[in-house]
Amino acid sequence: MGEYTYSELGSILAMQGFAGISLFSVLLLMALGLAIIFGQMGVINMAHGEFMAVGAYTTYFMSSLTESYLPTLMPYYFLIAILLSFLVAGLLGYLAEFALIRHLYKRPLDTLLATWGLSLIMQQSFRSIFGAREVSPTLPDWLMGSYQPTETIDIPLNGMFVLALTAVVTLGVFYLLFKSSWGLRVRATTQNRIMSGAVGINTKKIDRYTFALGCGIAGIAGAAFTTIASTGPTTGSLYIVDTFMVVVFGGAASLFGTIASAFSIAQAQSILEFFISGSMAKVYTLLALVIILMFKPEGLFASKVRR
C-alpha cells in the first residue's frame, strides 16, 4: 500500500466503502427475505435468488412497457416497478409455498432439494421468456449521475437510492415483525408452533404469508439490483451462497445480526477487492466466514429461541 498517499487512501476507502454499501444494500434485501423464511420457518429456500431475478425481470418488463407505450411516465415507472416486483415475487412465493413447501416442513433437507429443483425450472423459464442474454432496464434520469463532495470522491446516485430503499424496507420489516399483531403471531409460531395453534393462531396461514413476504422482499432486492448490474437467467444463483452466509453468520433468527453481517461481509469484500483481485477477495471473505462459523456456529447474534 506504500504507493498511496493518506488523502488518496481516504478517498479509496470512501469510494470502495460506498461501493460496498451498494453491495450491502442488495445483500441485506436478499438476506432479509431469507432470514424471515429460514430464521422464522427453518426452510432453506434455494430458489431465493430466482425470486430476486423475478423482481429484476419485472422491473425490466415495466421499463420496456413504459418506454414503448407511455414514454412521458418514464421518470416515475421505477417506483411502480418496485411495488410490482414485490407483488409478483410475493405471489409466486405464495404459490410455491402452497404447492411445494408446506408438504415438506418436517424435512428441512428435502426442502433444500425441492427448492433447488424449483430454481432450475425458474432459471429455464427466464431463459425461455427473456432470452439467455443479460438485460437491464432503462433507468430514469434522476438515478443517473453522481454526487461529488470533494475532488477525488465520486458517489453514484443509484447507490444512494438503493441504500434509502433498503433502509425503508428494513424499517418496514421491523415494524411488521415487532410492532404489528401479525408479527406477534409470526414470532409466536416460531417459538412454539403447537401452542400457537392451540391459542387460535392459524399457523398454516402464517407460514404461507411469511414465505410470500420473504419472497416479495427478494423481489424488491431484484428491483434494486437492476440499478447496479444487469440481469441474466443465472444472476440469482450467483448471490444465493453469499446470502445464505449473511443469514447464517448473522445468526439465523436475529434481524440485527443479519444487518450487521451483511454490512461486514459486503465491506470486507469490496475493500479487499481494491487491493487484491476480486476472486481472491471473495475467497478470503468466505474463508474467514467459514472459520469464524466453525468456532462460533450460532453466528454473531445467537437466537434465544429454543429448538
Binding site: 433437507l109 429443483g117 424449483l118 451462497v241 462459523l293 466453525m294 456456529p297
Partner: protein, 384 residues
Amino acid sequence: MSFVYEKLMGGKSGLTGFIILATLILVIFPTFLDLFRLNLVGKYLTYAFAAVSLVLLWGYGGTLSLGQGIFFGLGGYGMAMFLKLEASSPENTAIQSTPGIPDFMDWNQITSLPWFWEPFNSFTFTILAILILPAAFAYLVGAAMFKRRVGGVYFAIITQVIAVILTVLIVGQQGFTGGINGITDLRTLHGWDITSNNAKYIFYFVNCFLLLGVIVLSRFILTSKFGRLLLAMRDKEDRVRFSGYDVSNFKIFIFCIAALISAIGGAMFTLQVGFMSPSFVGIVPSIEMVIFCAIGGRMSLIGAVYGTLLINFGKTTFSESFPELWLFLMGGLFISVVMFFPNGLAGIWDDYGHYLTDRLKQLKDKFTTVVLNREPKQLAEDAG
C-alpha cells in the same frame, strides 16, 4: 462363508441386485456399446462413487453434504497433477520459455514449479495423496463442525460454501491450477498412452471393479454395528448420545469414508476423461451428485448407481436434442422425487417390485405345473 454372504452381499436380495448390476456393467455394456459410449458410461460410473458415498452419509447418516464435489475434485486434481507433470517433461515442452513446467504455468509467466506440485512427480505419493488428502480435509471440516454439534442444514450450507471457495480459488489462481479450463492434455501414465483404445477398456474395467468393491465395503460398514448406530443417530441423535456413544466421532468417520470414496471416483474420472476442471467441483456438480443419489434411492447403494446412470443418460440424450426441456425435466425430477418418492427408484422397486416378481413367479409356477402335469400323462401314454 455365511458371514461373507450376509455381511458383504446383504443376503439373498442384496446378492441378486449385486449380480445383476455387475453383469450389466461388466458384461452387457462392454458387449453392446461401442468404445465411445462405453467411455461415456465409464465417466458416469465415476459420479456413481459420489452417489454411493452420499447413500452412506446422507441416506444412513442423515447428514447432507452439498460439497461432495470438493472431494471428487481433490481426487481428480491429484491424479491430473501427476499426469500433467508427466506430460510436461522438458523434451515435450521445449518450445516454452521455461521448459519442464506445465504449459498453463508458462502462459501465466510462472518460471518454476510451485512447491505443492513437486511431490506429484511421484506416483506413489499421488496415489497416497488421493486416498489421504480428501479424507484428511474431511476430518478437519467434520471435526470442527460435528464436535460443536453443528449439523443438518448448517452443515449442508457450510460444505456448499467450501465448494464455492475451492472453485473460485481454482479459477482465480490460473497459474497454479489451470484456471477455468482446468488441467488438460493428459496423455500418458508411466509412458503408457491413456488415450488409446486399449487403455480406455482397461480403465473402464478397473473403474467397475473399484465401484463394485466400494459397494461391498459400504455394505460391510452398513451391516456392522456401526451401520446400526448410524441409523440410530439419524433417527434419534440424542438417544444415542445419552446411551454413551460419541456421536460426533461416528459422523466424522462416515464423512471421511464418503470423502475417500468420492475422491477415488474423481481420480478415475481424470484417467478416463483425460482432463479435470473446476466445473466438476462447485455447487452445481455437488448438488447433481445428491440428485443422482436421491433418484436412485438414498437408502440403496445399488440404486444410487442406477440413479446416476439414468440421470446421465437422460442428460446426454435430452441436452443433445432438447436442451431447453432438460432443465425443466431435471427440476421436475428434483421436486417429484422429494415429494412423492423419497426413497427413489429403489423405493419404487421395494413398493411395487413384488408385483413384477410375483407375476414372474406365477408364470414359473404355471410353467412347472403345466410341464409336471403333462409329464406323467405323457409318460403313461408312452408306456401304454
